[in-house]
């Protein structure tokens, strides 16, 4: 009966190899790939929101024809508005109460010019914005990776502002990192053609403009030159209005570019700005870098534009993916990276299996020499044990890592321990003059408790490791835990039944131990 159960346990292991969906997963350290942990700098999202609120407040005031002496964001994400005259002040508070109900007025202080009203975003609201930013970043990154085409990516939140990304089998890690890490804030801004670039480069750009650069790469030498541009701060249109971005090939120069399409509102705005600024230069800025700054020749209707820049097809394709997936709500920073090349992974598997075979064989030989017939039983139990671990890994869809292989190897050494404890006990019982059958029974029943006790402690460690460990270490915890459970089963149930079988057939059984 027990052997049958054992067989039932073992059988799925053999089938597991046949079914692809139940194959043992290999960890990144064995199959190669990239593990990244990103930190979403979501406090930047709060800053952006406050910045936008300041802009909207000004617009509302202008609409209601009220005057203010300055509204600005403070470094602690509060807003200070300076107003004078009862009409303006009352109008302002009315606007805040009506249109900006998430803001609360912290203090009103009388100053020489009038009154300073300090507004703040409640902590709960700020937390909300941060959480949304992280979630949106996760979604955006997932979209980008899906479009990039990686098989079986694993993307998940880790804590409240970290994103863990696992890309198995990826080889062009730099490209993947560029694709994932770009904020992709796209904006259309006018070039300030009257300002003095030289003085701006010294750190004093004219008010309302910033100094940004265009990266120009020489196709032959690969030399990168930075071309400075004075860009007006006002954003005329941003990436939020995009509906599509595709790689196109310029028929004239045979160069790839990214064709973008705006939604209806965006198309209207684009038509207006191009119409109003003919013969001026419009800069296309992505993450504070100027991609191109063409001179507007005519009003552009229809909501289509193109981003050129000297990129190759691959770069153009990645840019299109990023633009389609949308911008990250806040910049991200790579805070952990682990990349393993495919050849190293293959080497690790080869060496892992090699040491497993050699170690296993040595143990098997030793047991046969030391315990003869009983040793053979222990060896059978050992082989079944390894099969059980494999089956367990497949059944639980656990991941096999390099430390995981080490865990299996360790289990080989530990699995026979249980048998050693039992056999030594049986030898003691035999020496005290008991018959073979009685000795076997006494040996198993007395050793069982000891074996349980001894293995529980290692099992505790495996559970703790599983709880606290990450990646490869978790893989070790899994194989160690499975190995202990399997060895308890094989030693206490399987070995016992083999003993019983060999002893039951004979009238005066002898024991080879």
């Amino acid at each position: 009966m027990i052997i049958l159960t054992a067989l039932v346990y073992v059988l799925p292991t053999f089938y597991a190899d046949c079914w692809p969906h139940k194959k043992i997963n290999l960890g990144l350290d064995l199959q190669g790939g990239m593990h990244l942990v990103l930190e979403v700098q979501n406090e930047k999202a709060v800053e952006t929101t406050v910045e936008r609120t300041v802009h909207e407040l000004k617009q509302e005031l202008r609409k209601k024809e009220l005057k203010h002496l300055g509204i600005s964001r403070n470094s602690n994400n509060t807003i200070t508005a300076t107003l004078s005259g009862d009409k303006n002040i009352d109008g302002f508070t009315a606007i805040v109460a009506e249109n900006f109900d998430t803001l609360e007025i912290v203090s009103t202080v009388t100053v020489t010019q009038g009154k300073n009203i300090v507004l703040q975003l409640p902590a709960k609201e700020a937390e909300n914005i941060k959480r949304m930013a992280t979630e949106q970043a996760l979604e955006t990154i997932r979209n980008r990776i899906d479009e990039f085409g990686v098989s079986e990516p694993d993307i998940r939140l880790q804590g409240d502002k970290r994103i863990q990304i696992q890309l198995p089998g990826i080889t062009d890690t730099q490209r993947a990192k560029d694709l994932i890490g770009k904020t992709a804030q796209l904006s259309f801004q006018l070039v300030d053609e009257t300002g003095d670039i030289a003085s701006a480069a010294k750190g004093t750009p004219p008010p309302g403009s910033v100094l940004l650069y265009q990266m120009k790469e020489d196709n032959r030498t690969g030399q990168v030159t930075k071309v400075p541009f004075l860009i007006k701060k006002q954003v005329l249109l941003d990436g939020g209005s995009l509906t599509d971005a595709r790689v196109m090939i310029d028929s004239q120069f045979n160069e790839p570019y990214v064709g973008i399409e705006f939604d209806r509102k965006g198309a209207r705005i684009f038509e207006r700005i191009t119409g109003e600024n003919i013969k001026k230069r419009l800069a296309i800025v992505l993450d504070k870098t100027v991609y191109s700054a063409p001179v507007i020749q005519d009003r552009i209707a229809g909501g289509k534009a193109r981003i050129t820049g000297n990129f190759n097809t691959e770069e153009a394709r990645d840019l299109a993916i990023i633009l389609r997936a949308g911008a990250l709500p806040a910049p991200v920073k790579i805070i952990e990276e682990r990349t393993v090349g495919p050849t190293l992974g293959a080497d690790s598997i080869r060496m892992g299996i090699m040491s497993m075979l050699v170690g296993g064989l040595l143990v098997i030989l030793f047991m046969m020499m030391y315990y003869k017939g009983a040793g053979l039983i222990a060896d059978i139990a050992l082989v079944v044990n390894i099969l059980l671990i494999g089956g367990g890994l497949a059944a639980f869809q656990a991941t096999l890592t390099l430390p995981g292989i080490a865990g299996i190897i360790l289990t080989i050494g530990m699995a026979v321990d249980a048998n050693v404890i039992i056999f030594e006990r049986i030898r003691e019982e035999l020496a005290s003059g008991k018959t073979a059958a009685a000795s076997v029974n006494a040996g198993f029943s007395r050793a069982a408790l000891t074996i349980l006790d001894a293995n529980v402690t290692t099992l505790i460690v495996a559970v703790v490791l599983f709880q606290f460990g990450t990646g490869p270490v978790k893989g070790f915890a899994v194989t160690l835990g499975l190995g202990i459970l399997a060895s308890l089963f094989t030693a206490l149930v399987l070995s016992k039944s083999i003993f019983d079988m060999t002893l039951s057939g004979k009238k005066t059984p002898t024991l080879s131990i």
Partner: protein, 344 residues
């Protein structure tokens, strides 16, 4: 076949002073090494930094690689041969964490190709930011703490049949640690404090088996850590896993002896505790040695054939198993005797 003949009687307990002096010497040497090296040598997992494993198709010299890195602006990096010299594999380490962002792979490939004249293959890149390193260090220590805690509960509950008492002890410990952590105490201090409190409690409550087991555990882990410090090996996440496994595994032998002490205690009431312990160690000696031996066989196979990445892990395990086997005979059992009130 038999290594240890039945009826062997070696006076282990009589030689306990020798064992204690030896252990004390090892502990002191470990402590001195740790003080000299200013704590354990944390690898990039815990200290933060960048590690690159490169393989060249032709012979390359460490000096060239270093000059290439200097040109890249990564001074203060350590370059060492990884594995067998004929493999032309090198490990580059630097404490600068977040430099893998901008075109790093191309840049380093280019720089190394320029100085060595052979194409490098970047086989492994690991970058851990300082915050992540700090988090991992905390997690590792927490894992150690919880393993010790749960094992303590199990041992004292199982061997003394005092589940309630051990549960209360554990509860008190966890509360104490929680309160201390509010005051931002550093983790090593917390754990040391927790251990001291545990040992004091065991001594006071005369939980002799638990005392013996825990002292042996601390002994094993501390000396293994000390050995790593002496050899200047790095602590990485897998090494922590090895240390925890040692905690679990080194107890196996101890428990086998303890189980026998308990059994003999019931059967032969005329003998003194000292005689019982001696008898039990001798009776279980062959399995103590055999179980460790089979484990050591596979671990040595892992050490020699498992490759460079797993090398230190195997080394830590081997050290732990050897020390653990020794301590189950020469540390854990004599401590049981010492904690027993009649022998104080």
């Amino acid at each position: 076949m038999q290594f240890i003949k039945p009826g062997t009687t070696i006076d282990f307990i009589g030689k306990r002073k020798l064992g204690f002096s030896f252990s004390l010497a090892l502990v002191i040497i470990s402590l001195i090494s740790l003080v000299i090296h200013q704590g354990p040598n944390y690898g990039i997992d815990f200290a933060g930094g960048t590690l690159v494993q490169v393989k060249f198709d032709k012979t390359a010299v460490t000096q060239d690689i270093r000059s290439g890195l200097d040109q890249m602006g990564i001074a203060n990096s350590s370059v060492q041969i990884f594995g067998k010299p004929e493999n032309n594999e090198f490990l580059i380490r630097t404490s600068i964490p977040d430099m893998t962002n901008q075109g790093f792979t191309q840049a380093i490939t280019q720089a190394l190709e320029n100085v060595t004249g052979s194409t490098p293959e970047i086989r492994r890149v690991e970058m851990v930011g300082p915050q992540v390193g700090k988090d991992l260090r905390k997690q590792a220590l927490l894992a150690m703490f919880y393993s010790l805690l749960f094992i303590t509960i199990y041992i004292s509950g199982r061997f003394e049949m005092k589940w309630v008492l051990s549960g209360v002890t554990a509860g008190a410990l966890m509360t104490a640690v929680y309160f201390l952590s509010i005051f931002n105490m550093s983790m090593p201090i917390l754990i040391t404090a927790a251990l001291v409190v545990t040992l004091a409690l065991f001594w006071y409550l005369e939980l002799k088996y638990a005392m013996g087991a825990i002292v042996a555990l601390i002994h094993d882990v501390f000396i293994t850590v000390g050995l790593f410090s002496i050899l200047d090996y790095e602590f990485s996440l897998p090494i922590i896993a090895a240390l925890l496994t040692i905690i679990g595994y080194s107890l196996n032998d101890t428990i086998i002896v303890f189980d026998r002490i308990r059994e003999n205690n019931i059967q032969s009431r005329k003998l003194t505790l000292m005689e019982i312990i001696n008898k039990s160690i001798n009776e279980t000696l062959s399995r103590t040695i055999l179980t460790s031996l089979t484990t050591l066989v596979v671990l040595f196979s892992l050490l020699f054939l498992g490759g460079e990445i797993i090398h230190n892990f195997a080394f830590a395990m081997i050290a732990g198993v050897v020390i653990g086997t020794y301590s189950s005979v020469f540390v854990a059992s004599p401590i049981v005797l010492l904690t027993d009130k009649k022998n104080r």
